[in-house]
Each structure stands twice: as C-alpha cells, then as structure tokens.
C-alpha cells in the first residue's frame, strides 16, 4: 500500500460494441495480468475462470438477415446496493470508497458462493480446482497479483495490482493524484480496436464520462438499480434491443455455443417455451 490518499474517483468503463471485433485480446490480457491459471482439461465453460468474457449476441434473424455483435462482460462494478458486497458473510467483498472499485479478497473468502448467486452478470468465478500451470510457465506469473487457492471466489477488480503500481509511481513523484491514463486495466491497454475507454466517471472532463453521457450508451440490467459502472455504446439499434430484451428471447438456442456455453448433453439446456 502507498501512503497517499488520492481524491476519491469513480472508475468506470465505456465499451464501444461497434468497434469490438471479438478477438478476445481483452480476455487474454486480463488472464495474463491476473495470473489466471490455464484450465484443467475437465473444466467447462461453466466451471472455467474468465474474469472478462466476450459473448456473441445476435438479432436472431436467419441468413442472410442475421446480424451479430460481440459484448465483453466483466464485473460491472455496481455502485449502489452492490449485490455481491451486501451478501458476503465475512466482508470478503468490499467497495473501495476511494475508487468505487468492488474488490474481492480471496484470502478472506470462505467459498460459500453466495455472492455468485447474487451477481446478475455471472461475473464471479469460483476456483473449482487447485490452480496449476504447465511446468515452467509459473515463472511467467505477474508479481503484482497473488495467485488464488482452490475453493475461493474471484472476479475482475479493474487490475488493482496496476492501481497500486500507479499510485506508488505517483507517490514516488510526490503526487497525490493519478494522471488520467496513468492507470488503465490490462484489457483496456490490450484492446487492438481501442474499443474500451477507462477513466473516472466523476471527472466530467474525462472521455469515459463523456461517453457515459452519450445518447447511444446504455448499461446492462439498469433497472435492477445497482448503478453498474460499465457503459456499453452502439449505434446499432438491434444491439441495444438485444441487450435489453425480455426473456425468453426470440434468440434461437442455436447460438448457445457461440455465447460461450456448453453443448447440450442429456438434460442440458431446455429451449425456451415461447421460442
């Protein structure tokens, strides 16, 4: 920790869905930054750990009218009545008033998974296995982030390792505040299309605040009233519609595999009755 106490910020993101090419660089940069272990072969899309996960959504229409878009989902850093923070029995989830970042403390987590049941974005992940790396690869772990043990929950924390580094640098420079852009999460830095903008939503001058105010921006499940800090932007009406539609949607179940979900086996997924 650093001695400085910077002026409170409210960090958030604006993701431009019209720029996202679904390459997955954000997911990969995130996993590298945060020492997410390569999965066991047994791990499925439902048990794997992807702090950031790019879903593909579609307008549900058939060829050639079909349209698809990519939508990266990470912890939405809810700013009000944060569902996961309220339910944790032992304060392993805390919202940092100085940054507005919802932080998960694995070393205090009991592994009851109540927070996962509480999260509407499925942005929390449980360590079902002991973490393992191929021989030698553990030497490439990021020294700024501790590895997690089996049986605890983890999630995106806007790369707080990077926040600490940035603060330390600022403190070394005798500064109490961080310059905009001095601290950006790994996914933001890695996005080849520069689709993710990160910054202080409370700073009206910041680009992210400007995009958040943009008429084409929206947030997921806004009506839940949890004030998420991840904004999505698109000029394509159908994308906005698909991101806010009632379920079960017209979306055909065939997109399941593309949406990052397992192929049905036995009593796997059921088709929506109204589909």
């Amino acid at each position: 920790m650093t001695a400085i106490t910077p002026k409170p910020a409210r960090y958030g993101m604006a993701i431009d869905l019209d720029r996202c090419t679904g390459c997955g660089a954000c997911m990969i940069a995130c996993a590298v930054e945060n020492n997410v272990p390569p999965a066991r072969p047994e791990a499925t899309p439902r048990t794997g750990i992807t702090w950031m996960r790019v879903y593909q959504i579609s307008n549900g229409a058939s060829f050639p009218d079909t349209r698809a878009a990519f939508i990266p989902i990470l912890c939405q850093q809810c700013g009000k009545d944060t569902p996961c923070a309220a339910v944790c029995p032992q304060e392993a989830v805390e919202t940092d008033p100085a940054t507005g970042i919802v932080d998960q403390m694995p070393q205090r987590c009991l592994g009851c998974r109540y927070c996962m049941a509480a999260c509407p974005y499925h942005a929390r992940y449980f360590n079902w296995w002991d973490p393992q790396w191929p021989a030698g690869m553990e030497k490439t772990l990021n020294p700024d982030v501790a590895t997690r043990m089996r049986g605890v929950v983890e999630k995106c924390n806007f790369c707080h390792g990077r926040l600490h580094t940035a603060r330390a640098r600022a403190a070394a420079g005798g500064r109490r505040e961080l310059h905009p852009g001095e601290y950006v999460p790994a996914c933001v830095e890695a996005c080849p299309a520069a689709a993710i903008v990160f910054g202080d939503l409370d700073d009206p001058a910041s680009e992210v605040a400007r995009l958040a105010r943009d008429g084409q921006s929206f947030r997921l499940l806004e009506k839940l009233g949890t004030e998420p800090k991840i904004y999505y932007r698109t000029a394509r009406p159908w994308v906005r519609q698909a991101a806010a539609q009632q379920r079960p949607a017209s979306e055909p179940p065939e997109r399941r595999l593309r949406a990052g979900l397992p192929a049905p086996q036995g009593s796997g997924q059921k088709e929506p009755a109204h589909a």
Partner: protein, 588 residues
Amino acid sequence: MGFTRRDLLTFTGGSAAGLMFTPVPWSLLRDTAVLSENWPGVPQPLHGEIRTRYSTCTLCPAGCGVRARCVGDRPVSLAGVSGHPASRGVLCPTGLVGHHLAFCRDRAAEPLANGRPVAIERALAGVSAAIAACGARESVAILDPRPGRAASLVYRRFLAGLPSGVHCAPPNAEPYGAFGIDLENTRAILSFGAPVLDGWLSPGRVLANRSHFQLIQVEPAYSRTASLADLWVPVLPGSEDGFAAAVARALEGETSDTHATEVARILLRNKPAIAVGGGAAVATLNAKLGSVGRPGGFLPRRDFTPVTGIASVPDRSIGVLLIEETAGGEPLPWDLLRRKLIPQDSVVVALTPWLDGCARHADYVIPAPMYLESLDEAPTPAGSTVAGFSLSPALLTAPPKLTPPAEFVLRLAHDSATYPDILKQRVAAIKKDGRGTVFTYPDAKSARVRDIPDLWKAMLGGAVWLDEPLHSGTVRGADLQVCAGPPGPALPPTPEYPLLLIAADNPPPHGSPLMSKLYRESGLRRPANAATVHPKTGRDQGLEDGARAIVTSPSGKFPVQVIFDAAVMPGAIEVVGQAISPASIRRA
C-alpha cells in the same frame, strides 16, 4: 495431603480456562488462516527487478513490435510498442501470450530420425546423404514460409549449389507479390473473403485506419469481418469472381444486379478504393479502380524477389523436402506437398518447433527454437508499402538441442557462418545502403539510418528498419498478381454430396495454453472440430445441435461436432480451415 482425582480435574479445568486468556489458542486460529491462504502447491509469483525489454513478433508476417515486462530477465507479459509503424502499439491475442508458447506440450525437444531420438550430427549426416543421393531429376526443395528473410537467402545460396534445388513457398506466402497496400490513404476496401478485421496484414495498422475506409465484405459466411463490415454481400461459394466482374461492369455504368450496383456506388463515392482477396477477376477490378501504383491503392516495394509457389512445382519431382515451420504454425497443405514428393524414396525433413505439424509426416525432425527463444528476424511486415526488417532478440533461455532452421541449412552447406552472422551481414548491408529510417522501440522515435552509429546494437535493442518508398509510378515486374483467393467455382451439389463445405474461420493458431483455455471457455473461437450449419439444414440432415457427426467430401471424411447457427447459409457446412468442396454430413 494427597493428590486426589478432584484436584486433577480442578487443575485441568482451571488450566483450560486460563489458556483462553493466553494468545496461544488465538494464534493457532490465525495459523489455520495462514495455511488456507498459502494453500500447498499453489505457485507464488517470483519477485524481482521489473525491467522492460523489446523484441519483434515472428509468429505471423505482421511483424509487430513487442514490449515485454520482465521480472529480472524473465518476461511476464507482452504488449505492443506504441507508434510502431506496422503494429501501432497493438498485439493480437496470439502475440499477447507468445511468451507462453515455450511451455506448450507437443514441442519438439530433440532431433528425431523416423521418430527415434538421434544426435544432431547423425541427423545432419543422414540428411546430407539423402541430398547427395539425389540425382539431377530428383530435386531438393526447401519450403520457406517467409521468403524475403536473411534465412531465405541462406536457403537460396545452399540450393543454388545443388544440381536441382528448388526454393519454394507455400500458397499465399506473398499475397500481393511486390505490392503493399496503402491503407493510410485508401477510402474503401472491397474484400472478397479476406479476414480484413480478423488478423489481416498487421491488425494494429488495419484497425488504426478502420475509421478511414468503407468496408464491403463479399463472403458466403457471416464471418467476424462480415459482421463488422459496413456492407456484407453474401454470395454463393465460388461465385466471387463472377460478382467481381459484375461490380467491374457496374463501375463502367452498365446495369448489373442490385448488389453489384450498390457496391459500385460505394466504391465510386469513396476513392481511392481497392479490392482484396479473390482471384483473377479481382485483379482486373483493381485495374478498373485504378488502384495499382496509386496512393491509397497497391504500391510496389523494392525488396521483392519472386519465389516459386509450391503449387507450380511439378508433381513427383522432389527427392528431399526440407520444410521450415514457424512457431506461429501456419498450416501447410500436406496433401499438396505429398503430391510433389517422389513416391517411395523421398526424404522429408521438418525444421520445426512443433511435433504436431509437418513433423508427423517427416523422416527427420530438427527441433527449432520457439518464438522468443533465440535471435530471429522479421521481414517486411505483411502488406507494408515499403521494405522492412527487424530483429527479434531472444527473451527466454532456450533448452538445449535446438537448431534454428537457417543454422541447420548452413551446416548442411558446410558453411562456417552462424545464423546471427547472417543477420549481422543483413544489417550491415542495410547500414551500407544507408537508405530509409529506423524506428527504435524504447524511445518510439524514427531516425535516418545514416544517423545511427551502431545499427546492429540499435536493432538488438528493438527497432524496425523501413526502406524509402519507391516512386509510385515506377512499377517493377509485371502488373499486380493477386493471390489465388477461394479456388474456382464450386462444383454443383450432387446427390452424393448434397451440401457445400466452406471455410469458416482460420484454424486456431498454435497458442498459449491460457489462450486456448479462454477461447474454449468463452466459445469465442469455434473449436477446430466444429461444423456449423443452419438449423434447418441440420434438421433436414437429421442432426441436432451439439450432435457428433461425420463430414464426407471428395477429399476424405473427418469427425465434427455440429453447431446450429442461423447465421450460416442454408445448404452449407462451415468448417474451420477447409477449402470449398461439395460434401455430405451424417450422424456419427
């Protein structure tokens, strides 16, 4: 005054109660916490001085600059070099985790002869013997995935010394021949199935200019590029050339089908425009668009030396084939290669870091260093309008028993020089010509070659040399040769093969275990064994979503997992990395 049982009980009880007021039980509690926090067997990251080192990515022809965050001298994460002329500070997903490749399974660790480990000398002897045994009619060929490198020069020299040596490249190694694409100034790209937004040329450069050009994707599959293009024109597989011709006519003002007219309108409104991908008709279309040799179009480079495409090598002519495979593991068309070999007595040598590629068909496997394990070179970045060159210094310490492909060929040629020597000569040559500029990674600055005292050192520190542009007018060589796009018109479906097999995605590259995990768990890239069909087509074939099935085509059969996706053209089967051909699919 004896010691009764009562006394004992009192004592025990008392001490138990007293213990509660000592720190002992509480510290024991804490210890359980400590235990559960450092769960046995969980590796903790190593700490050390954080340093930044630079290199250049050789996994694909894009030639992106790499900034490595290192603990001590060990890279822990890779990122782009901001301002890099080719990559514009961007790395693709594969490049981001290039430093993990060294830890993949399926690595070639030691020389193999017919699957058995041998000393490198034995392998050398064996291969030389095989080469010596080749008569004038039996040619010795080296398949060079990246012509235009210093290594390629080594190959050419060696082959020149043989009675019949062939220096050949896999299909599409040089898509635009002597030409680069002036992305910075083009206003419209008419793409015939080229993955423009999905790893085409240097992704960073393409995306940086994305806002400047209209993108029209002509492709039967609703690919990533199609989904992000300004206009997607779904055409029947194999009818691209026809559509190109239609557009050409529409440009002339002739009335054509609505799509073509629409496309023509966009191209005319956004000039300069280019057409990429596709076949001969696309070349003529470019000529019509006047995009050859003009700013915003195809511009010629100085460094081009033509190389035989493997396809044009006569069948059953190669006696000894040396195949260089890159760490990126671009797939090689083995069926094509096999046809070129002399049936019985041909020798195949795989110079590769991988065991699961061409090594599977090779008599000799010469393990090559993995990306970032040894000093390497990156030739002119794909699609660059000027010649370029950069070194890829090693960031990892390589295991023993590895031989860089060029090194192996040098030793075959009994040349005392080492690969680094060759690279030094190349750099010296650049310095001698004194043309062009050098962009150095650490300070993100460009300087003229003349002004750099020690070019070699600068290059080792991370730098890319860029030639001066040619005068756009003077086009050396013939007119633009555009790569052979999707092979000719597809055969019409037959009763035996009612469906059409079309390429969906590039096959998943050799990647970090982490990358493959993330792709698998997010389903972002279709698994290599996925066959995506329209739900209706699938049901007509008696399949359901997720079923296991067998796809049969004239070139053979392979098992797949069926994915229903309404985005797929009815009557088509999208399969990762397949050529267009009629096919049938049935339940496994």
